[in-house]
């Protein structure tokens, strides 16, 4: 199968439209999140059809007008959508070429196509893509089993088709304005599940508000007037009940005290002979999305009862269906259109703000409702990424190599997006209905690359491997998807542990890993990163400087990534250099792929060093960048990224592939620098100092 996206959109006409002569309209269900998918789609359509990119237009993420490709997530935009568009274009060209050849009674290989015009040898036939589409239609079924194209002809990268406008200050959902616009702000409960005492407000205040159950919002024609009035009203509105958070709530170890649902992975015995078993505990804290922009949505409820929503969602169809459930209207009554927002790295507030706008719109039919969250809402009300507590256990054979290896993970869910439950996935819905109980935690299945168990089985040649997950739910915290899901914590734990085994065996960490890896592609990225970083000639660790190495294959089936980190410790850990070698399979747009991997590296370095959700003095979630800092320009390492020219014809994705190895290599470098491992993220100044003191 080329792409699962072709199962629900199997015909050429589902993906391309040739009704406007001279233009090729390409439809994709994946949406632009800053990852450059629209450019990759345009590039592959241009390459396959032999057309200048100027003649390609891409539309994306509009229910009813583009294919339903599920969520734009999981490093799958190129593997799913770009390959589908390529297959659609290839099928179109093959069938048109065949038709022209048959009509003219000659072999198809004498027919060529340039800029949409067909030629017999060098003579124009008079046919074009557009005349043939008008004559034959585009109802042809796409061949979903054709062998993928070889990778050895990566074309020059098409520059991003959306960047010039955005860098000059355009192209964002935040910029959309209409003449009938009404601005709205939701008054948020201070705790999940708290209910507003609207009865205690003055009649004037109540009349000014949209009150729908426990959902309270203020509207105004003027956004400046809105913010000032909302601040005053929020100060007068009292809330009762809800789930209070305490500092203990956020400790990863607190997860172990909760009841949970077990899931097993792998086939090794869960509790083999206890003698000689080595055990270590690792922890990763809760993390936040930290997009620089605040999520925004527009909604318009027509007098006829249809709803038009513009959203920066990752899943237009899934959000449409969740809104339909929330509003008790048919899904067909809703049109959901994607518009670009600031960077999206997972299930942030994008769907929630769309639900806010839709609920307000029902109370103000005929007006376009615009809701843009505040920075405090971004931090304190969007879903967070779950903490994880991990026990790694291994038994070594007589040669010092592990005979079996097991992870026991305790984690919240990474899957609470719209569509993961029949209802209750939208914040406005929870507030309206006074719901304290979130949708049941779930683990993503293997076909989606797993959730908390992602990369819980090591990539090494170890005879017996298994992993166990206890999926728990910390009351008061809405956890869901963030870049890479469980891969970050699990690769950190596994690669820290492998380094510990290497030290115990007095082996070089690179040599030890290679001794456990037979996959030539895995060996190739590790050997290459060693050469590029000068691993063999690195100085001995200590005196506040250190080197670390890590390896992972994302989802155990996607891109191969090897990483070397060089760190120093003065008043805090500083990552000086990172060397990364990746084998991401076939590359459609090399610059876009590199950009995505670089971005994953930087974000993971920030997670590794400083990121952790802590409560404010009021025992609420962080509400500002001061309470949840991320790395700045002056904190960033030099990054050397090398993407291997892979013979693999399959594109393996890029955006999430480096987040595990980056943090793991940094952690191993810190261990090398200070002589003792830190098994709990982030690798903060306080932890390094206490580790040094204990040592």
């Amino acid at each position: 199968m080329i792409s699962p996206s072709l199962l629900s959109a199997p015909r050429v006409g589902d993906w391309i439209d040739l009704t406007t002569p001279g233009l090729v309209l390409v439809r994709t269900g994946k949406v632009e999140l800053g990852q450059g998918v629209l450019t990759a789609v345009a590039q592959v359509a241009s390459d396959t059809l032999g057309l200048s990119p100027d003649l390609i237009r891409v539309i994306s993420g509009i229910t009813g007008a583009t294919p339903n490709e599920g969520y734009t997530a999981g490093s799958l935009s190129v593997p799913h959508s770009v390959t589908a568009v390529e297959a659609a274009c290839a099928t179109c060209l093959t069938s048109f070429t065949g038709h022209v050849a048959r009509t003219r009674g000659m072999a198809a290989d004498r027919i060529t196509v340039t800029e949409g015009a067909f030629y017999e040898d060098d003579t124009p036939t008079g046919d074009t893509l557009w005349t043939l589409a008008a004559e034959l239609g585009l109802d042809t079924e796409i061949d979903n089993s054709a062998p993928p194209r070889r990778a050895n002809t990566t074309p020059p990268a098409l520059p991003r088709i959306d960047l010039a406008e955005k860098i000059r200050g355009g192209g964002m959902i935040h910029d959309l304005r209409t003449d009938d616009m009404l601005h709205a702000r939701v008054l948020r409960p201070p705790r999940l599940g708290a209910t507003p005492d609207t009865a205690a407000l003055s009649p004037e205040d109540r009349a000014a508000l949209v009150i729908d159950g426990g959902f309270v919002a203020l509207v105004d024609d003027d956004p400046l007037s809105l913010t000032r009035r909302a601040d005053r009203l929020a100060a007068r509105l009292r809330w009762t009940g809800g789930i209070a958070l305490t500092p203990d709530t956020l400790r990863p170890a607190a997860l172990r005290d909760l009841p949970g649902t077990p899931t097993e992975l792998g086939d090794a015995p869960a509790a083999p002979d206890a003698e000689g078993v080595i055990t270590e505990r690792y922890e990763r804290p809760y993390l936040m999305h930290g997009s620089i922009g605040c999520v925004t949505a527009l909604a318009h409820w027509s007098p006829e009862g249809t709803l038009d929503v513009t959203s920066q969602t990752q899943g237009p169809y899934q959000l449409r269906d969740a809104l339909a459930t929330m509003l008790s209207i048919p899904a067909e009554a809703i049109t959901l259109r994607h518009a670009p927002g600031a960077g999206c790295y997972g299930h942030n507030g994008a769907d929630d703000v769309a639900a806010d706008a839709a609920l307000v719109a029902r109370h103000h039919p005929g007006r376009t409702i615009r809701v843009m969250w505040t920075r405090a809402e971004e931090f304190a009300h969007a879903p967070v990424s779950s903490a994880s507590a991990i026990d790694v256990r291994a038994k070594l054979g007589p040669d010092g190599r592990p005979e079996w290896l097991r992870l026991d993970i305790t984690s919240g869910t990474h899957a609470r997006r719209p569509g993961t439950a029949p209802s209750g996935t939208l914040l406005a819905e929870l507030s309206r209905d006074g719901t304290q109980t979130l949708t049941p935690p779930m683990e993503l299945p293997e076909m989606h690359g797993l959730g908390a168990l992602r990369n819980a089985i090591s990539p090494y040649d170890i005879p017996g491997q298994s992993a166990g997950l206890t999926l728990v739910d910390m009351p008061g915290l809405r956890t869901s998807a963030l870049r890479g899901l469980g891969t970050h914590a699990n690769v950190f734990a596994l690669e820290s542990f492998i380094d510990q085994l290497a030290r115990a065996a007095e082996a070089d960490p690179l040599a030890y890993r290679l001794s456990l890896l037979s996959d030539p592609r895995a060996r190739a990225v590790l050997e290459r990163v060693a050469v590029r970083s000068g691993w063999a000639d690195r100085p001995a660790g200590g005196d506040g400087t250190g080197w670390g190495i890590a390896y992972s294959r994302y989802k155990n089936r996607a891109a191969y990534v090897a990483m070397v980190a060089q760190v120093s410790f003065d008043h805090s850990v500083r990552v000086e250099n990172l060397w990364c070698v990746a084998d991401a399979g076939r590359v459609v747009n090399m610059d876009g792929l590199r950009n995505q991997i670089e971005g994953g590296i930087v974000q993971s370095a920030s997670w590794a060093l400083i990121e952790e959700v802590r409560l404010t003095e009021d025992d609420t979630l962080p509400d500002s960048w001061e309470a949840y800092p991320i790395l700045r320009f002056s904190d960033l390492p030099e990054i050397d990224l090398d993407v291997i020219a892979s013979p693999d014809p399959i594109p393996l994705g890029a955006g999430e592939v480096a987040v595990g190895p980056t943090t793991a290599a940094i952690a191993n470098a810190v261990t090398d620098a200070i002589g003792t491992p830190i098994r709990s993220l982030p690798l903060s100044r306080d932890k390094v100092i206490s580790a040094l003191l204990e040592n």
């Binding site: 960047l163 955005k166 000059r168 000014a208 956004p223 400046l224 620089i292 320009f633 002056s634």
Partner: protein
């Protein structure tokens, strides 16, 4: 309706070389004037707390956070926004270097870089990083951004 009408009065500013008069509350910020009165939406709202740099514009040539700067303090000042800098070589360089992923933070960064390069036509890497340190980028395009700005500085 309570608080339904927030008192507003006329304010005249000079933005991108043109005088403009708007009705705003007396405590209106420069960012509110730009985005919600003048429809100059290239300047971004990121936090409203001077912590991310997305709203950076130039006032009398110096980068300022528009999200907290009272508009009423700027009568007579020269205000430059990304809309007035579309052809700045640093904007072109950022595009040529594909120095962004989502690009939400880029207009603010471009304005800080414009101010830096006017002040210091050939800054070294450390000076570029210092000028950009008030800006947050979550996509991780930092090294491309620094390279793009240095490319303008190089002969």
């Amino acid at each position: 309706m309570s608080d339904a009408r927030i008192a507003q009065s006329a304010l005249t500013l000079t933005v991108n070389g043109a005088p403009v008069t708007v009705d705003v509350p007396e405590d209106a910020t420069l960012l509110e004037v730009l985005r919600d009165r003048l429809n100059l939406t290239g300047t971004r709202f990121g936090c409203g707390q001077e912590q991310c740099g997305a709203c950076t514009v130039l006032v009398d040539g110096a980068p300022v956070f528009a999200c907290t700067r009272p508009a009423s303090s700027l009568t007579g000042a020269t205000i430059e926004t990304i809309e007035g800098a579309a052809d700045d070589p640093v904007v072109t360089a950022l595009i040529d270097h594909q120095a962004a992923q989502c690009a939400f933070c880029l207009p603010g960064i471009a304005m800080s870089a414009r101010a830096l390069l006017r002040r210091t036509p050939a800054p070294d890497r450390a000076a570029v990083i210092e000028a950009l340190d008030p800006h947050l980028c979550r996509c991780g395009a930092h090294s491309r951004i620094v390279e793009a700005i240095l490319s303008v500085a190089r002969p």
